[in-house]
Structures are given as C-alpha cells and as structure tokens.
Amino acid sequence: MNSDTQKNNVDLMDFACRFFKSRGAALESGMDFTDILVPPDLARSLEVEELITVVSEKAGSKESDMKNRYPMQFQSPLLERITSLAGAKPTFLQAELKFEYIKTQGFDRLITEAFDRNRTKIRITGTGVARTRYLILTSLYQAQSDELKEGLMDFCFNLDTGALIPDMIEPLTHVQKEYPTERVLICSPKEIENIYDQINQNGKKAIEEKLSHFVESMNRRFKRDAGSLEEYYHDLTREMEAGLSRTGLSERLILEREEKIALIPAELNTKKQDLLNKYSIRIDFQPVAALAIITPCVKVFAELMSGRQKAAISLIYNPVTKHMDPVVCKSCGTSSYSLTCCDCMHLNCRACLMKGCTLCGGKK
C-alpha cells in the first residue's frame, strides 16, 4: 500500500554503492553501472565474487544473465543480503551540535505561550547557557496479525530531564554537527532503565495511534468472520433441532443427534479462538539505532507560586526546536506542557492532579 511511493524514494544503486564504500570496497562508476572490488571477507558473506559490477535496474534487465553482474532491484538476492547486513547490528551514533546564535531573552512570552498553568503563577528568576543531552532512539516495530505491518518509529528524550521531546528530528537536519569518534556520551544504567520505561509507556500509546487504521481493520475482519461463524453454527443448531421433531426417527437416532447438538457450542468456541489467534495483534518493539546529542541550551530558572506556596523549577530552552522542552510529571513521568502543581507544589500532569499527587499522598 505504501510501496510505490517509497520505492521511488530509495535509490537502490546509490544505496548499494554507499554500502560497499563504507565497508572498504574500491568503486569505479560508469553510466548505469559501477565496478566494485569487494574485500574478501565481505565478498564471502555476500556470496559474490571479489570483482563485481552492480547495474541499475533499467540497465540490469537485459544483461542480468552475465556473470558477476548484479542488477540492483527489489527482490534481487544480493540486495537482500546487503540490506540485512547493513541493518543487522544496531548502531549508536553521537553528535555535538554547534550554534552560532542562541537566544538569550524573551523566555517569558515563550513560557506563557507554551505552558498551561491553571492558577499557578510563574516568575523567571534567571537564565544561563548550559549543556544538555538528547537521545533519538529509532525503534523497529512489527505488528503481527494475519498480516504484518512494520516500520520505524523515533522517540526523542532529554536525558537530563527525562522529558519526551516532540518534533525534534526534522529541525535537527538543519543544525551543524560534529561527530566525535570516541564515546563522550555515556548513558548510566539508571538512565537506560528510565528510557526503557518511557518507551514502554509512550511507545504503546504512540504505536496504537500510528497503527489505528491497521488495528481497526483487523477488528473489522475479526468481527465479520466471527459473525459469520456464529451465524453458521446458529443455523446449524437450528437445522439439527428442527430435524429432531421429524417423524420416523428412532429414539437412538434422536439421542445421537441431541448429543451432536450439545457439542456444537464447544466447536464454535474453538473456531472462534482460532480466529482470535489469527487476528490478535502482537507488537514487537526493538531499538535499531540511537543518536545521542550533546548540545548547548538555555536553562531558565523560575519560581512557581500558588497561593502562599512557592517552588523553584528549571526549564530548558531547546535551540533545535527553538521551543521550550516539556516538563515531567512527578507522579507518573509523562511529559507535558502543564505547570500544574499539587498543594505541596509538586509538578503534576492534569491526569495525576485529578487522581491525586503520588508524592504527597493524594492531596490536591
């Protein structure tokens, strides 16, 4: 359903050449083809000769019979091996962002626009440039029912606050980056644990939203099939019952048939379970790539006031999104643009505020 548009977006030739290059092959390009000297190890794992020619799809069809010539097209065995090799190991990339200019004032207006505050008042007490860490985690999801739906999904976290950051990936492409070759950003086990929890919590919600069409269509199919199953067994029962009242049946025969009728509900149940198994959806979530970002940001220090109560908080201005990052609810950990507090001035999301803050035991 989405293959055609996507197919055109992926230049298979380009992809293959980049792949070989990245693995140490020597390339020499011509029109519609590229000669490649493949390192022995790579040649072995790709099951090709050491000197090969990859040809573009257009040129490939007529000459694909020739030895050592590989057309780069969907369903070609070599392409399949390349993609599975390229996608085999989850990768971790880190980047440092550089900004020529970062805003230093006007946070008042930004905060007022971004956050929902209810009756809480906010007063900025200071700002300062700081460094913070983000993580963009790309996960592979596979939703399996009686068909398979898969794709990639990105989640972006601020590692220092634990907040989930929306819309960070697209603006990131325009930012100047450096890629340190040594690992500078280390996630502590606690941070990873936190990310994992966040994925579990937000991933399910996000994926259900993303796949709502798929989920609904599976439900429709199940409903239709189960309905027709019910109908069939209902009719069958009725028919068999009607058959009982006919004249000329021996008692033994009647008894036999009654036994058969009694077994129908159980059979119906197994068949329904079959359908339920066929259509039930299992979603597997697996990280395939992570991009860790170290970046300057602006820390905004502020005071929240509600009645006589006060609390000091810090907010982060994200130079990539040019927006304030959300805050994290102290009760449930979800990220939101809500600066609402319980009576003890704990930041709580709206939902938790209704249920009662978990930090101070339910007081509003």
């Binding site: 994992y196 189960a226 006919r246 000329g248 979530f285």
Partner: protein, 788 residues
C-alpha cells in the same frame, strides 16, 4: 373345511403384505413431503413465492398433521399478507390440537386487522369465554384489549349492517352524510399496528447478536536490546547510521507485493503463476485457501512458498503438514532440498507412534493415518498450530470420516488444502473442503444443497454465479493453458533383454535364496529382500554389494551363509553383458546426448568401467559430489561428453533440458520415482520430443511393472503428477512397490503370478478411468474461472 384354513392364512399373509406395502408407501410419501417442505422453505427464502406456495401445498398433502409444515404455511401467509393462508394455518393447528393460546389471541387481532368483524367477534367471544384458563403473558392488558376489540367489532358490524340498507348512491364516498355522523362508531379502531405479534406463527429467524470482543493487542519490548544499543562502547559513523536506516526503508517496501523468501530459494526456479498464487493466498485469502491447480503445475511448490514466506516474516512458527503415507518422504525431501526446511516426519527412522515429544516439535510432516490414530491424535488436537497444510485434500471430502473430523478439530490460524480434484462425485465434497477452511462460507449443508444443488445431478450446480462468487474467495485453480506449459510429447520404449545362461542361473539361485529368507524370517528380512530383488533388476554388481554387506554384518544370515557366498560368487560378470551391449548400441546409434539413470552404486561402477573400456565420453553425477563438482559434471555433459550417468539424487535444480533422451538402466519400482527421473528432462524448456528407453530383463519384476505402467495405463505419456492421483485411488496406504513385491514373493506358480499382476493392472486401469472422469468433471465444473 381344511382348504379354507390355508386360504385364510394366505389371505392373512396377503393382507399383512399389503399393509407393509402400504406403510412403506406412506413412509415414502412422508419423505417426499419433507422434501417439499424443504423446497418451499428454499423458494420462499429465495423470493419465489409462487413456487414456494406450490411446494407448500404438496407438503401439506403429504404431511397434513405436521405442525412444522403448518407453521411454515402460516409464516408464508403472514409474510405475504395472505389472510386466508394464515387463517388456514391456524385452523389446521387447531385441528391437530397444536393451537397455542398466544395464537388464539393473534387470530383475533389478525381478523380485526383485515376487518373481518363477524368472525373477529366470534373468535373474541370464544377467547373471552376461556380467558381464565389461557396461558399467556400480560393477561390483564390482553383481556382489556380483546374486550375492546369485541365491542368495536360489534359496532362495526352494526354499522355495516345499516350501510347495506342505504342505497349506495346516496352516500358520497369520501364524506359522511350530514346528520348521519353517529352511524360510524365513535371509538377509534383499536391499534393493530402495535399488536403483540409475539409468538407469530413460525418464530421469525432472529439470530442472537453475539458479543464479539475486540481482538487483543499485546506490546513487547526487548529490554536487553535497549541496554545493548545504549551502552555500546564505540560509536558508529554517520554513514553506517544512515545506511542502517535506509536498509530498513528498503526492507519495508517489500510487503507481500514481493515475496522475500524467493531470494533464498536457490535450488528451484519457481514459475510466475506459482509466485502470484502465493501472493494471492497471502494478501487476499489471508492464509486460508484451497489450492487446486491442475495436475502438474506444482501445488506443493506454491504451498511451500507460502509457508516459507510466513516463516521468514515471523508469522508462522509452528505447522503440521498432512499427506497420504506414500507422499510423506517426498514432502520431506522437497522441503529440505528446495526450501532448506528440515522438518521431522513420520517416515523418519526415529519416529515412534504415540511419542508426545515428537508431536510437540514446532513443525512436523505426518501421514494422515498416523495423525488420526488414537495414539497420536490426542497430542495433535491438544496443541495449537500456526498453519496446517493438507496435501491430496480430496481425502477429506467426506464429512463423516475421521480424516475430515481430524482436520476440523485441529486448532489453526492458517490452513491450506491442496487437491487437483476437489469434486469427485458430488458437490458436497467441495462443500466439505470449504467448510474446513471457513465454516459458514457456504452456509449449512442443508442450505448449500437447497441453494446450489440440482435434484438428480449432484455434480451440476445451480445459481452458478452466486456459487462462483463464494468460491472465488477461497479457491484458486490454475490451468495448464494459463501457466503456458507447452512441452513436446514424450515417448517410451520398453527394451526387454534376454539374459545369458549364466545370468539366468544367477537370477534363479538368488530367487531361491530370497524365497527361503522370506519364509524363515517373514517381515524382518523384508527390507533386505526387497532391496536384493530391486538390485537384481539393476545388475549383479549391485547385488554383490549388498550380499557382501550382509556377510560382513552377519545380517539376516541365519543358516544361509553358505548359500549367500555361493550367490555372491555368481555376481562376478564380464563387462559385455547383454544389457551393456544394448546400451552401447543405443548410444552409438544416435548423435544426441543421453542421460542414463542408475539407482545403485555397484551398477554405476560397473557401467563406468564398461563405458571407459568402450571409449564413450561420459560425465558422472551422483549424490556424494560437492555442489561445485555437480555443476562441473553438468557443464561437461552440456559441452562435450555424450553420456551422463546419474543416480537420481540431487539433480533437481539443474538445467538438463538440452538433453532429450534418457535410459532407465534400472527401473525404480515406485512410479513416482520414475516420474521424477522423467521430470529432470521433460519439463519447461524442453524443445524436443523426449525419448525414454526402459531396460528390463525378460520375465523380471521390472518386466511386469513396465507391462502395467506402460502398456496398461500408458504412464509414460501422462502428465507428471497424474500417476500420484491414480495410485492414490488404489493403494490406500500401501505403496505400489510393496504391492509388486508382495505379488512376486507370494505367488506359488508362474500362472498365479501372471494372474495377480494382471489383477493389479486391471485395478490401475480402473483407477485411471475413474481419475480421468473426475478430471473431466472438475474441468467442466471449474474451467478457468478460478485462475489467478
């Protein structure tokens, strides 16, 4: 009077006979009546009221006192607003004492709604009289209502009575004459619209609205993999990162549009229609389908593409493949050799019936017989399978058989049924198959019969377009013309070779030894005996190998050691045996290339020596070569050698169609194996007519086999796959080779042997005729309607 006594007895007997006869006729009449009843039901549901009423009348005549029939009459009456019919039904119910109190009330309301005031009044009075004894709901309310109806009817009758007295022209039709307004009863006609139509005559078909839950959705994350990614010590480069994301994008475009399993199938070339069929089953039929391509188009390959695809996508992790016993090993071999799927089977030497551990393995190939045996069935039915594949699914055509019931109770998500002949004698067979795939697709058996089957001809459906619509949701049937399979014909020649005196002596000694072994240790030595007999048909050298092994291992020897040594000594032969000389002549007589099929190693060695001696250029191809060596052997044969000597193992994926002549130097007893040999060169890509030379020694088992397969049923001219269908009809679960072996060993005289083989030949001939009839029927029934 003495005579009158017997007369009376006679009379009595006659009377009795008459009575029995009358009763039988009555019974038949009744049966017919029910048929008419069914017919009326059907026609009425189909919207043909006239026919329904006619059938109804016939049913009533035959079964005047059956409440069911009368209810139907009332039902039809009420649905067509035919008052007379409804009232007739009520009266009939009254007559047979089946008039319920509810219906009595109904009748009053019914009469009112049709303005039959006189009768309505009468019935209302009747009801009121018995009212205290009536068993109905809402008694008080109903009582008031009936009273109201009674009063209203009385007034209306009075009104009508007066109306009749006044000449018509004085009353304007649309206006009451002034001053005569009070003639009309002031009360409104009691509501009939809201009459409690509750138990109407036949209770209307109200299906329960079942509570259908939403499908469960589960979410799984792999915790360790998060830690792994996020704590890798070395960061990757940007190129690697981007390539990884791109690789996933490429992979996602491969929905079922593209079969991802194909790229790993290096050992077969699948055909376009097989791939398209697989895609259709995956995408459109969503894993529940009847694959009924014509014979020879490769349903097995289609099913295995589907299976591999599901496995590769992680959608199938368990499965059960059910086949007739003789096909188990064939499936096993195809799966491993072509799809790289190594699946345990009930043919494996390790298999023991009734062993739970065996059945708990993720995938199993089983004969239907093993699966349905009481020992194994409990394990199979207790667990769940992602997919069930049933080959030769026409063995499930009968709903009352254990085969059908087994597949029906299996817990499964996907199911593929494979058969080239879904209908053999009766459309119900097709119904039974489809009902296994999707219960309800063709409704209940009764409904199916009514809708789609004509009386008299169970193979000729009616309402074809509706049936076609339903079938095309689950069935696919490609024809040879769609597949574009046009291969030149093939011809076979049996070449009977007269043995030399020495050979005859050898055969006779061996025969005596075999019979004696068979007598002493029946059953146990069976495999060895069958082998020896088959090897004798190949060459004495093949026998020598086995005898040597027997002596070394001291197998099956008992007190035969002496004799075994004697026979072994007779195995030493010269190279220029009549068989070899015949082959040489054949090779020298043609300029074409020839493939020589040989089953046994001993024979191969002997033959190779002979060819070398005679300076014939040849290549050798056998199972113990490496893949590279195999390629080299075929290359050599293609480019410069004249002969390819090959054992049958492992040639499947290689192109040998450049050769059109083959010799069965020895003949497998299993016709399917013979077919596999032929299939190596008689396949798509072959441009010449194929010549098959079958060698056999005069009077040998092979001679008899060829007589049956070639002369009696013309197997060598049949489409590949057809012999399976024919054998499937006769052997039940016994293999052809075993039947042949039994005849050979159990015949006391030559005459007996001749007769038994002739009998087997007849059986096969009949089976072939039966198969051809079925093939024709299915061709007529399905034609090219269910092609891709």
């Amino acid at each position: 009077m003495a005579a009158s006594g017997t007369d009376r007895k006679k009379q009595k007997r006659k009377a009795k006979q008459k009575q029995v006869k009358a009763e039988r006729t009555k019974q038949i009449e009744k049966e017919k009546g029910w048929d008419y009843y069914d017919e009326a039901h059907y026609f009425f549901d189909a919207g043909n009221t006239d026919k329904a009423v006619k059938a109804m009348q016939k049913a009533l005549k035959a079964l005047p006192n059956e409440a069911d029939v009368i209810h139907l009459l009332g039902y039809i009456g009420s649905r067509t607003s035919n008052l007379a019919m409804e009232l007739d039904a009520i009266e009939r119910l009254e007559k047979i004492g089946q008039l319920t109190d509810d219906i009595q009330i109904d009748r009053v309301i019914l009469l009112l709604s049709h303005s039959k005031y006189e009768e309505c009044l009468m019935r209302a009075k009747q009801v009121l009289q018995n009212f205290p004894t009536l068993d109905i709901k809402n008694k008080r309310k109903t009582l008031a209502r009936i009273k109201e109806i009674k009063d209203y009817s009385e007034r209306m009758m009075a009104y009508e009575h007066r109306k009749k007295k006044i000449p018509k022209e004085t009353i304007p039709s649309d206006q009451n004459p002034v001053g005569k307004k009070d003639i009309l009863p002031k009360t409104l006609k009691p509501e009939v619209v809201s009459k409690p139509k509750q138990p109407s005559l036949t209770p209307p078909v109200i299906r329960p609205v079942p509570e259908i839950p939403r499908i469960p959705l589960t979410f799984h994350t792999d915790k360790p993999s998060f830690f792994k990614v996020l704590s890798t010590p070395e960061p990757a480069g940007t190129e690697q990162y981007e390539l990884l994301l791109a690789s996933h994008d490429i992979r996602f475009t491969e929905s079922f549009e593209n079969l991802i399993c194909l790229s790993s199938l290096t050992l077969i070339q699948s055909f376009w229609y097989q791939e398209e069929t697989a895609k259709k089953v995956l995408k459109q039929y969503r894993g529940r389908a009847l694959l009924s391509d014509e014979v020879g188009l490769g349903k097995t390959i289609e099913a295995l593409i589907i299976l591999s695809e599901y496995i590769k996508r992680g959608m199938v992790k368990t499965g059960l493949i059910l086949t007739p016993s003789p096909l188990v090993s064939q499936w096993k071999e195809e799966m491993i050799s072509k799809f790289n799927l190594d699946v345990p089977s009930t043919d494996d030497p390790k298999f023991r019936s009734g062993e739970e551990a065996f059945w708990n393995q993720p995938f199993v190939i089983s004969s239907i017989n093993q699966a349905k045996s009481a020992k194994n069935m409990e394990y199979i039915t207790a667990r769940e399978y992602d997919i069930i594949i049933v080959d030769e699914a026409h063995h499930l055509k009968n709903r009352t058989t254990q085969n059908w019931k087994l597949v029906n109770v299996l817990k499964k998500r996907f199911i593929l049924l494979l058969t080239a002949t879904p209908v053999e004698n009766n459309l119900m067979e097709l119904y039974n198959l489809i009902t296994l795939l999707k219960p309800g697709q063709l409704e209940t058996a009764t409904a199916f019969k009514e809708k789609f089957m004509k009386r008299g001809d169970p193979t000729d459906p009616q309402n074809r377009s509706v049936l076609r619509g339903l079938l095309s949701q689950v069935m696919i049937r490609n024809t040879r013309s769609l597949a574009g399979i046009h291969i030149p014909p093939r011809f076979a020649r049996t070449i009977r070779i007269e043995p030399t005196k020495a050979e005859t002596q050898f055969y006779e000694r061996l025969q005596t030894l075999i019979l004696s072994l068979n007598e002493q240790k029946q059953g146990k030595a069976r495999m060895a005996i069958k082998n020896l007999l088959a090897q004798a048909g190949s060459s004495p050298k093949a026998v020598e190998h086995t005898l040597t092994a027997m002596l070394e291992k001291q197998d099956y020897i008992f007190d035969h050691e002496q004799e075994i040594r004697a026979v072994k000594n007779l195995c030493r032969t010269t190279l220029d045996t009549p068989k070899n000389m015949t082959l040489l002549k054949l090779i020298q007589a043609t300029r074409d290339k020839i493939i020589v099929f040989v089953k046994y190693r001993g024979t191969v060695e002997h033959l190779v020596e002979f060819l070398e001696w005679n300076h014939i250029s040849f290549s050798l191809f056998h199972g113990s070569l490496t893949n590279l060596e195999k390629d080299a052997a075929i290359d050599a044969f293609k480019n410069h050698t004249k002969v390819l000597v090959t054992t049958e193992i492992g040639g499947e994926g290689r192109n040998m169609q450049f050769c059109s002549q083959m010799v069965n130097y020895d003949l497998p007893w299993n016709p399917m194996k013979i077919e596999q040999r032929i299939g190596r060169i008689h396949r798509i890509g072959q441009e010449k007519e194929v010549q098959i030379y079958n060698f056999c020694a005069a009077g040998s088992i092979e001679d008899y086999i060829l007589d049956i397969l070639d002369r009696k049923i013309n197997m060598f001219e049949m489409v590949i796959g057809e012999i399976d269908m024919i054998l499937g009809r006769i052997s039940g679960e016994k293999e052809f080779s075993d039947m042949v072996c039994d005849i050979w060993l159990n015949s006391k005289t030559n005459e007996e042997r001749d007769a038994s083989f002739a009998g087997l030949g007849m059986k096969l001939k009949r089976a072939k005729a039966g198969y051809e009839k079925t093939r024709e029927l299915d061709g007529k029934l399905f034609g090219d309607t269910y092609e891709l």
